[in-house]
């Protein structure tokens, strides 16, 4: 077991933010979220934090660990500190803070709804396995007919928005996850998506810091997708000019 210090961002109601420290005994194989839950269970019941699935399918537990956006349920303690070390845990940036480590993801959810981000989609639409890797290999169709359906890679966790420097200064910017959701659907036959992507708060607002792709815990690679969407938008506009 390791003895480490959690330095936790605290904020209640309209009070000014501050940091509380907690000495916690942890197994280095445990995840950062386990330690936060332990603090709540044994040290301070007033602590608030978001979590649900504890295995990176729900996207609730996004926080900043030592300044970097992480899904805390899959971030092993041994990967971000050492025995006797300190872990700073803060809420995501660029969202309104509800309290302590809890932010209001409402703005992101509203944007995901606006771009009609698929909630489930056919397996064949599944994103690539990361940079430069093609879609998953062909799987036979179900014998019952139809297609396999799966949940998308994007967890709607808000981590990409938190890391985006443009989202910091422009809360209306659609942002990485919603733009990636447009790219996955494609612009053919979606004039409303083209209008959103080509708007003032769309693809052209991005300033290519690629921080979204650096922190995305689910291989969505939004940076790449925004760049691809730019190309798609330009192609669509060219088509209308040429006729």
């Amino acid at each position: 077991m390791w003895k480490i210090t959690y330095r936790v961002h605290r904020q209640k109601g309209h009070e000014a933010p501050h940091y509380d420290t907690f000495q916690v005994e942890v197994d280095p194989e445990e995840y950062v979220l386990d330690g936060v839950e332990k603090i709540w269970a044994f040290e301070d019941r007033s602590l608030t934090f978001r979590h649900a699935c504890h295995h990176s399918t729900c996207g609730a537990c996004g926080m900043r660990v030592n300044g970097v956006e992480k899904l805390t349920c899959i971030t092993k303690i041994k990967d971000v500190t050492q025995d006797g070390g300190t872990l700073t845990v803060e809420p995501l940036r660029n969202f309104p803070i509800v309290s302590d480590l809890v932010v209001d993801l409402g703005p992101l959810y509203r944007k995901m709804e606006a771009v009609q981000a698929p909630k489930v989609h056919p397996l064949s639409m599944a994103p690539w396995e990361g940079e430069d890797i093609r879609p998953p290999k062909e799987v036979p169709a179900p014998p019952e007919g139809g297609e396999y359906i799966r949940l998308p890679d994007c967890l709607e966790c808000g981590i990409c928005i938190s890391a985006c420097p443009v989202a910091a200064s422009d809360p209306d910017y659609l942002g990485p996850a919603p733009l990636a959701a447009i790219q996955i659907q494609g612009l053919d036959g979606h004039p409303e998506l083209l209008a959103l992507a080509d708007s003032q708060e769309g693809v052209w607002r991005c300033h290519s810091a690629f921080e979204c792709s650096a922190v995305c815990p689910s291989n969505v690679d939004p940076g790449w997708r925004i760049m691809d969407l730019r190309k798609q938008v330009a192609t669509q506009r060219l088509k209308t000019i040429i006729g």
Partner: protein
């Protein structure tokens, strides 16, 4: 008479489904939850939309509930479900010997079951253990835990339910005769404490029901029974893969987004608020999971978590206790009026649990309003935050 007011404690599957049902039946609904939506057992469920096959031999009451609700959930909340079916596979002679019993059980419960050849099974799921001896297809599915609860919550909210998240129930409000008239709460987002009065309080706190009933000097027979789940970083299958045998440790592998999740175990605990992870059980999941899907050994561990089932009944080992649910009117149980407790059950049956509970609530208040949750499609989970 003005609308009756109900307080629901707990915003897991059951609590959110009850809030949705109550709101549809015209109640004023206030949900009090000490964390975010689905932070307890619900969020940490395996994510298996049961066909009922797992319980078709020993626990047919649950099996029938599962298949009925499986069909309803696919209809009312398709947005959160991977409806790809499931396989029960035999990899040992002992498994194979169980096959006929299993098929008979499924047929008795009305669960469609189809046998396919091992070759066909391997064609459908190339990562299955190539030594498999038999394979049966059942209508299992998988669901996203948080989004299932959020969909019920969003639908409740649309119909006027009010959610107080990060708000602990610290005590019950009792009248002179010890009947429940509301709750005392502590809002941890701002530190405020206040009372909420109601006509009825529904305790939907799953494995934590005992903490609430104690405040009302009431009780329920409940056995918190945790199990481990281990997520690996590769989507190795598209269907739910079950071991064709009696329920045991690590006998289910599920796909979820880009993951494969192996579960689970069953043991007893005292403190339900924090269940530490037992690394020996992690190793066991790898071993048992690899008997079904050998490629799990090439994948990397991505997450490990414990979920605590709220099993009903105080005796017997966890595996032998029925997975069915029960709603208790504490007027009958402890002569405490104004409080109903619901517990037990499965994620798959949460809507039926809500229906039964709200039926009891209506009956207590002398109302006769039919349940419509089996027909009404749920609102987008994203609407909860809007």
């Amino acid at each position: 008479m003005s609308k009756p007011h109900a307080i629901v404690i707990g915003a897991g599957f059951t609590g959110t489904a009850i809030a949705h049902d109550l709101a549809l039946r015209g109640f004023d609904v206030t949900v009090v939850e000490r964390g975010p939506i689905a932070n307890g057992t619900s969020g940490r469920t395996h994510g298996l939309l049961h066909s009922g096959g797992r319980y078709a031999v020993k626990d047919q009451e649950s099996a029938i509930e599962c298949i009925e609700e499986n069909i309803i959930l696919r209809k009312i909340v398709p947005d959160v479900i991977e409806p790809n079916g499931g396989l029960f596979i035999a990899v040992t002679e002992d498994d194979l010997a169980y096959k006929e019993t299993f098929i008979q059980g499924c047929e008795a419960c009305g669960i469609p079951v189809d046998e396919i050849t091992p070759q066909e099974a391997l064609r459908l799921e190339p990562n299955l253990n190539p030594k498999l001896l038999a394979a049966l297809i059942v209508p299992d599915g998988t669901f996203d835990p948080l989004r299932l609860a959020l969909s019920f919550a969003a639908s409740a909210k649309k119909n006027g339910a009010v959610f107080h998240l990060f708000t602990d129930v610290v005590d019950m409000l009792l009248d002179g005769s010890g009947n429940v008239t509301g709750v005392k709460v502590w809002d941890r987002t701002n530190g405020e404490r206040y009372d909420i009065h109601s006509d009825i309080v529904v305790n939907a706190t799953g494995a934590w029901v005992g903490q609430i009933t104690k405040m009302a000097h009431a009780h329920v027979p409940i056995k918190p029974t945790p199990g481990i789940m281990v997520a690996y970083d590769r989507r190795l299958v598209n269907r739910a893969i079950n071991r064709l045998n009696r329920p045991s440790d690590g006998d289910i592998v599920l796909p979820q987004r880009r993951l494969a999740v192996v579960g689970t175990t069953s043991f007893s605990i005292d403190d339900v608020d924090y269940v530490p992870i037992d690394r020996q059980q992690v190793e066991l999941m790898l071993q048992r999971g690899a008997e079904l899907i050998p490629a799990i050994r090439q994948a990397r561990e991505r997450g490990v978590y414990m979920a605590t089932r709220p099993l009903i009944g105080a005796s017997g080992p966890g595996r032998s206790i029925s997975r069915t649910f029960k709603a208790y009117d504490h007027k009958d149980l402890d002569n405490v009026d104004g409080l109903v407790t619901i517990t037990g059950g499965k994620a798959t049956t949460c809507r039926a649990m809500a229906e039964k509970t709200v039926d009891i609530v209506c009956q207590k208040l002398g109302l006769n309003i039919p349940c419509t949750t089996a027909e009404v499609p749920l609102t987008s989970y994203r609407a909860f935050y809007a």
